[in-house]
């Protein structure tokens, strides 16, 4: 026995002196990093995707400690175990051997009937659980989902077959589309033109050029627009009446009957009836809706299209600005700069631009671009709109410029790396054949370095797409009434504020009144953003790797 433990001791000592435990511990660092990266991605993906999956609708019949029977209809949202001791103060009778009690968080919707659309139920109190096929989920424009049994469908005051439902829904859908078109595009355009006329008049006045003739002309134009507005408005009213023609009567979980007009209904699904393929279909159409719809209910429902659009537009603008500057700076550093103090300073500047906290760029952008440059632009070119600012307020252009500075080092570093990999023999060859340095650059170096430049730009885009802090100061808003790009001249409105996916996450997750209800949507948005950024990064990395391979071949 003694011998045995001695041997073991020796074995231990030998193991320790070999350094193997420390190697394993350092391997643990790698494992933890891997677990956290992959775990994080898995978490976002699973939570984000489950948002779109049509959940089963349960009907719980439970009896509480006072013997009261209740029926709860809804989706199971979360489940957790709580220590039984936490329930000790209530009169709930529990199995004394149980240490924990399971409870379910059920999303019950029906916001007009109950104040909270979530409810906890204790599993021991549940008498029966069922998933009746006739349970319908009614997705609505306001007040969130409604769960219940459809009692009757009423067409223009007369009750009709339930099978008519899909047909009626399609009809309303078409009308709603027309209404949207009228409201945002046509009426929006008229309002925009009216505002421009008003500003024009003011400009003439400021310049002392407002003659009677001009006044007349402006007035008649305004009148024409106003007339058009009136006709459109009456059209809109007619459409609204059409939409509001029919309604359904729904029985909620407590037996109460609720009338829901078709004008509020977006979609009706019988989740419990759906087969796998139909579920996949619903899943996909939900994803589609998420990507192309406008947000509803203070961003906590509906789609994120304006945020996607804003992000993409801002990033594109930024790319246009950052690419030439970044590439030129990299060319200077690698091809022109001598080995002197200035070059060293430049390199330190590049490193520091990369290291300065993004919020500092936001502060700089707000002070310098928005208030100083933008304020001066307003004074010079838009005196007629003052005191309400045009460019002297946060907007998409300032955001793009601010982020361009922020991502400048990314492009520089990546481009320079590409330039460094080009064998100098190629430069020498070109110069020896009589080309000037500029020609060598333009004809030989840049084409070969173009994948590296691409890599840099893609990495810059990925960085910019995920950046939120500076944007909160220079142009992002919770809810932008108009997209920065529309059908009104000059089409691209650089002065407008915009919505952004990253800010959407922050805003809906932390600033919305009903965080619990909005959380799945935030996960879905996060998933979208992560997917965009990771695919951009992977593209950049794969371009870079292919490039490296190519140069390796060139060298041999």
């Amino acid at each position: 026995m003694m011998k045995n433990s001695n041997k073991e001791q020796k074995n231990m000592n030998k193991w320790f002196s070999s350094g193997s435990p420390w190697i394993w511990l350092s391997a643990g660092g790698v494992s933890i990093s891997l677990i956290s990266v992959l775990g994080l991605l898995w978490l976002i993906a699973s939570k984000g995707l489950s948002y779109f999956w049509p959940a089963e609708i349960h009907e719980f019949k439970s009896i509480d400690q006072h013997g009261k029977h209740t029926t709860v209809i809804g989706e199971i949202y979360d489940r957790e175990f709580i220590p039984a001791s936490q329930l000790a103060h209530t009169s709930i009778v529990l199995d004394p051997t149980q240490e924990t009690v399971e409870r379910l968080l059920v999303k019950t919707g029906n916001r007009e009937l109950v104040s909270l659309d979530f409810r906890w139920i204790l599993v021991p109190q549940i008498q029966s659980t069922s998933t009746p096929e006739e349970l319908a989920v009614i997705e609505r424009r306001t007040n969130g989902n409604f769960y219940g049994y459809i009692d009757s469908v009423v067409l223009d005051g007369k009750e009709v077959e339930k099978s008519k439902l899909p047909e009626l829904l399609t009809r309303v859908d078409n009308f709603q589309e027309e209404i949207d078109q009228l409201q945002t595009t046509d009426i929006g355009a008229i309002n925009y033109q009216l505002e421009r006329l008003r500003l024009k008049e003011r400009k003439y006045k400021l310049d002392n050029q407002l003659t009677e003739a001009r006044k007349q002309e402006l007035a008649s134009k305004t009148q024409a627009l106003k007339d058009e507005y009136t006709t459109l408005e009456s059209e809109l009213m007619a459409l609204r009446d059409e939409v509001a023609r029919d309604h359904i009567v729904v029985r909620a979980m407590d037996g109460q009957k609720v009338t829901i007009n078709f004008e509020h209904i977006l979609n009706i699904t019988y989740n419990n009836k759906l087969g796998l393929f139909e579920k996949v279909g619903t899943f996909l159409s939900q994803i589609g809706g998420f990507l192309i719809d406008d947000p509803r209910e203070a961003n906590t429902e509906g789609g994120v299209f304006p945020a996607i659009f804003g992000t993409v537009l801002m990033v594109l603008l930024m790319t246009v600005i950052v690419s030439p500057f970044g590439v030129v700076a990299a060319i200077y550093l690698h091809e022109y700069a001598g080995k002197n103090a200035l070059t060293k300073l430049l390199r330190i500047a590049v490193i520091n631009l990369a290291g300065v906290p993004s919020i500092v760029y936001g502060v700089f952008g707000l002070g310098f671009f928005v208030y100083m440059v933008g304020g001066s632009l307003d004074q010079l070119f838009y005196p007629e709109t003052l005191p309400s600012p045009t460019f002297g307020t946060p907007g998409v252009m300032w955001s793009a410029i601010t982020l361009a500075i922020l991502t400048l080092p990314v492009v520089i570093v990546s481009t320079e790396e590409g330039l460094a990999r080009i064998p100098s023999a190629m430069r020498h060859g070109s110069l020896a054949l009589g080309a000037t340095k500029a020609e060598t650059l333009w004809r030989i170096i840049l084409p070969i370095a173009s994948p590296a430049i691409m890599t840099g730009i893609i990495l810059a885009i990925a960085r910019a797409a995920g950046e939120v802090a500076p944007l909160m100061l220079v142009g992002v808003v919770k809810m932008a009434p108009n997209l920065p790009l529309d059908g009104n001249f000059p089409f691209l409105h650089l002065d407008r504020k915009f919505m952004h996916l990253g800010f959407h996450i922050y805003d809906v997750g932390f600033q919305s009144p009903n965080v619990e209800a909005a959380r799945p949507l935030v996960y879905a948005t996060a998933l979208l953003l992560v997917m965009i950024i990771i695919s951009l990064n992977m593209t950049a990395v794969s371009i870079r790797n292919r490039l490296r391979e190519k140069y390796r071949m060139l060298e041999h």
């Binding site: 190697i23 030129v328 022109y336 300065v356 502060v363 802090a469 922050y506 996060a526």
Partner: protein, 739 residues
Amino acid sequence: MTLAFKSTGSRQLKNSLAKWLITLGGISVLFTLVLIFMYLLYVIKPVFDSAKVEPLSQITLSSTNTSLSTGVDELKEVAYQIDNEGLATFYRLKATDQHSVGSVLLTQRLISEGAQLTHSVNAGLDLLLLIDSNNNNTLVSPDFKATYTADSREIVAKIEYPLGEESLIIDENEATIKKVAFGMDTEKAVFVASTADGRLIKTSFIADDDFTYDPAYEVNFQEIEFYSKTVDDILVTPDLSLAFVKSGNTVSVFELDDEDNVPLKTVIKPKTTITSLALLSGSSSILIGDDKGVISQWFEVAAEGNRDFQEIRTFSNETGEAIKHIYTEQFRKSFYTVTETGVVDIFYTTSEAELWSGKMLTKAPDAFAISPRADAIITILDDSLVLTAVHNEHPEVTWSALWNEVWYEGYQEPDYIWQSTSGTDDFEAKFSLVPISFGTIKAAFYAMLFAVPIAITAAIYTAYFMTPGLRKKVKPTIELMEALPTVILGFLAGLWLAPIVEIYLPAIFLLVLFLPLSTLIAAFAWYNLPKEIKVKIPETLAPIILIPVLLVSLYFAFALSPVVEASLFGGDVRQFITNELGINFDQRNALVVGIAMGFAVIPTIFSMAEDAIFSVPRHLTSGSLALGATQWQTLIKVVLLTASPGIFSALMMGLGRAVGETMIVLMATGNTPILDWSIFQGMRTLAANIAVEMPESEVGSSHYRILFLAAFVLFVFTFVFNTLAEFVRQRLREKYSSL
């Protein structure tokens, strides 16, 4: 051939043009950085400028009588003078097309002819109580109304009578009033006066409705019990709650709220000869000037159960002359002192700053007033009226007020406080950068505490022990973390991790123990495996082998958490921490931030440290191994030593990132600016503070500029770290290439 020749010139031109453009483009990077630096400084600079004083205009008054009161309108265009014969005269201070500077706008007699004005007592802006030698009391308010015509602005001067033109009865017995002070709001006017027959009285005019549109009121006379017959000076606070009565070298404080009796609250006894008294804006502090040129600020401090006036701080004018008058600003905590010889000093209380000092006049002025926007003062000495501009936008900010403890009104002791806005109007913004700088360091510290061990060990293993094939996959995967938007990390930290940490708190601490332990157990188990299996599962796969092992220990930690909670902490860790340890527990605390921000920092440190270790020349390690050192010995004694500057620069970069990170801290902490190292409490960082407050700060205000200062501090901080890291890295690169 000729063609080629012809084009050579333009080709050369293009070539040199390209060179210039590219050089310009390259240098623009440096220019950008310098621009950011300079612009931040440009915005910050006015905060630290001392006050500038310059005379604007001087006019000679038409009346040669002694002036008692003066005042000026908001835009400093019209001033008034009230002289001892009760004549109010309005003068233009700014020339217009029709009028010259100094021309008289309006003259109005305020008391009956022949009478002398004995008192002209000010309460707030342009509200005067006039008492004449016939014992007539009237409240007057010189008023400036701007009227706009097509292309100009005209100021119409007028005298208003807020309580009517009839004489007000302040004393029931109608005795001559010797000293008087009053205050008035929309519902009440309170007069405290000493009379010729030795009484101290309080008279309240209680509005029937509201003085703004109905001057009708009821009167309530009260007599104040006072031990002394001599009353030198009286002050009434603008909120009508306290009266200060100076008698000799003591100041008695009376409470005015009660309409039945006027209790003596306390007696302030400074150990000096009091020469002047004034109330600081906000009605909490009283300023006492003495004969040696020292002004002391007193306010109530809760001590031993009751509140009492304490001397908080003193200011002194350098001349040492007696303080004749103290004038306080209406909205800020600034005050002006005047001596007999005409020396004017400007002070700000909370920042303890002497903003300006100089001999402005030949002797003490007859009348003195501060303009409504506090950007000018107006003085009358004999027949000359002088308007002096005072450029003093940010008196509350000094370097010492930003970084030292400041004793604010209503606080028990000096403290570091960041509190930039609040609901009430007479609130004083408190700008101490200490709590938010501390929060920044705290957040960075916990993030580094979490990230450094994982990042460095992972870097060591990946660079030194991992097979090239595995390394090619592992490195980009970990670096992928860097691309994850921090807003997502912050969101997960705040809404997913924080509740988990709260519920399974013991699990988090168990993991610190479990993870290394399970790794070692797995390592030892592998070591004792038979050779055949070891060949099949080589040690180089350790990171992969460990993943399931660590996942299992993760599961156990969480499964054991409720058990540990029940057995050691009485079922609820949070209650245990709050009740037994006396530590506050926030759901969004430093632990959550440390973990979340740690994740954000790991890839930065990992990537750079891995590069540094990986590029240690192979012949160094081969030499060491050939001499018989083990892998581990070679790593510690050769590789890490050689790569240590690189690892250091990786840590610097990581720290730089942790310091400047905004979204994670913003979302994963409660953003409370507190000074507490506790891991269970939150913090507010410089970056998050900017993100929260910048959108609502007024452009050009002190708050706005201080937020720029916060950004500047962040900028400089990261600049130092990054430059240091880059410098070290350059040196290392040269060293490697020479090896």
